[in-house]
Subunit: 281 residues, 2 copies
Amino acid sequence: MMSPDRVAQCAQLAMLFELSSGPKPGNVDRCHDFPDISFYHFLVSAVSTYPVFRRAASGLGGAGSLILEGAQSWRSWNIGSNTHFGSLVLMIPLAMAAARPGDLREALAKVLEETTVQDAVDFYRAFQLVDARVADVERFSLKDPAFAERLRQKGETLQGLMLLSQGHDLVAREWSTNYERAFLLAGRLAERIGKHGLNEGIVRTYLEALAETPDSLVQAKFGREMARQISLRAGEALRDATLDTAWQMDEELLAQDINPGSTADLVAASLFISLLMDLRF
Amino acid sequence: MMSPDRVAQCAQLAMLFELSSGPKPGNVDRCHDFPDISFYHFLVSAVSTYPVFRRAASGLGGAGSLILEGAQSWRSWNIGSNTHFGSLVLMIPLAMAAARPGDLREALAKVLEETTVQDAVDFYRAFQLVDARVADVERFSLKDPAFAERLRQKGETLQGLMLLSQGHDLVAREWSTNYERAFLLAGRLAERIGKHGLNEGIVRTYLEALAETPDSLVQAKFGREMARQISLRAGEALRDATLDTAWQMDEELLAQDINPGSTADLVAASLFISLLMDLRF
């Protein structure tokens, strides 16, 4: 079994590899900052979560409180934004699972099943802290100041909350399917990286993921039809062996402030799985 | 006093901020890989030293053994090269000093003074492990298989070794002057970053450092005259407010495989000092 430090390093590298690869149309990469959120910002938000991943991989803390700790760590560096929030929500349970003996995916299923009402309450606190943008879960508005009380009354666990959101959020869907796509993409990443190297392997996997399933962050901001269009464009970019179409698509999406951030979070989680499974690069 | 984790995070960010800034003529940056050493390579070598910096900032281990541990951590990721060796050698004593109460520079002086013969032996082991390129110290050839025995016979400490090398190596000069330039550049970084933002602030400080003092890695590989020419070019690049000249210089140096790596290590150490002193960015 990996040491907690090694697990935390795999988590860091998953975030940093994802961040550094390009062109990932619409997202921050090595050569493109957003006007308000720079590459440095993402470096800080990745590095500041290291101790939280180490704790998770040491079997300390619940999923909700660890996610909350991660969000709080960003505050301590004066970055209050939600740069890596989706990645954190996907990756904390993986780090917890990596601390357990046996098969990673079986251990993950247990981690998710064991989440409690307190995990749900802590998750909502983290959510409010970073002001993440997703659609409200119908029964639990994020604007509701009494959310903790309502969650307790209903006895809703964090896994239960994710099941309610799985229809419209990629991250929640992973939680609800025991990371079906993330494990699938992790296998693809290993294959694509073996063939094309790290950068192009990551870019191609990102484009494939985006082409297959509309991005839920794009959908929350711009609606279902725009998200579908972006997926069609990603499919076109994939058919260009040179990645020129992907670069062009990148410019267009950045100009319109359209960023498929949920797909980037999913790719980061998949990279984390690959690295935990000893990815060669 | 900062927690050991916070110190380790400052060290990580110093390496990653330095790495990510550009144009830094001749060095890897976000938009330029070396043919044989990629940006990803540097990400791995930065992230893998986190536990070593945490140990240093916990008051555990001597300077030499910590540097050796850092070099060994690169091996465990299958990167045997000397990507961040100079940065490590400069930054480990700073992390050790950050664990002590009082003024950082005074604490640093004590850390350096307290180095032992064993630190010198461990340092040489690390040196051989990464195959770093510097000129040999006259009395202690790095090719000498009996170096440990000879160091012990002479009673040479690590600080003593650095004093012998200060004439031709930027890193050794810092050890020999209690980091005179690194502290000076740390102050400049804070000022330049406040004025120009992180990227341009780092780039301008790098160019200034290079213009002021010929790079010792360039000198070891290409001779004194080439190193002097590169410094003159850096001065010209600084006089161009747009950084266009710096970009052009970057292309030229990369084409000739001339990389002022010692200056980059010095800037990383200066960034570390700035971050330990609560740099605002």
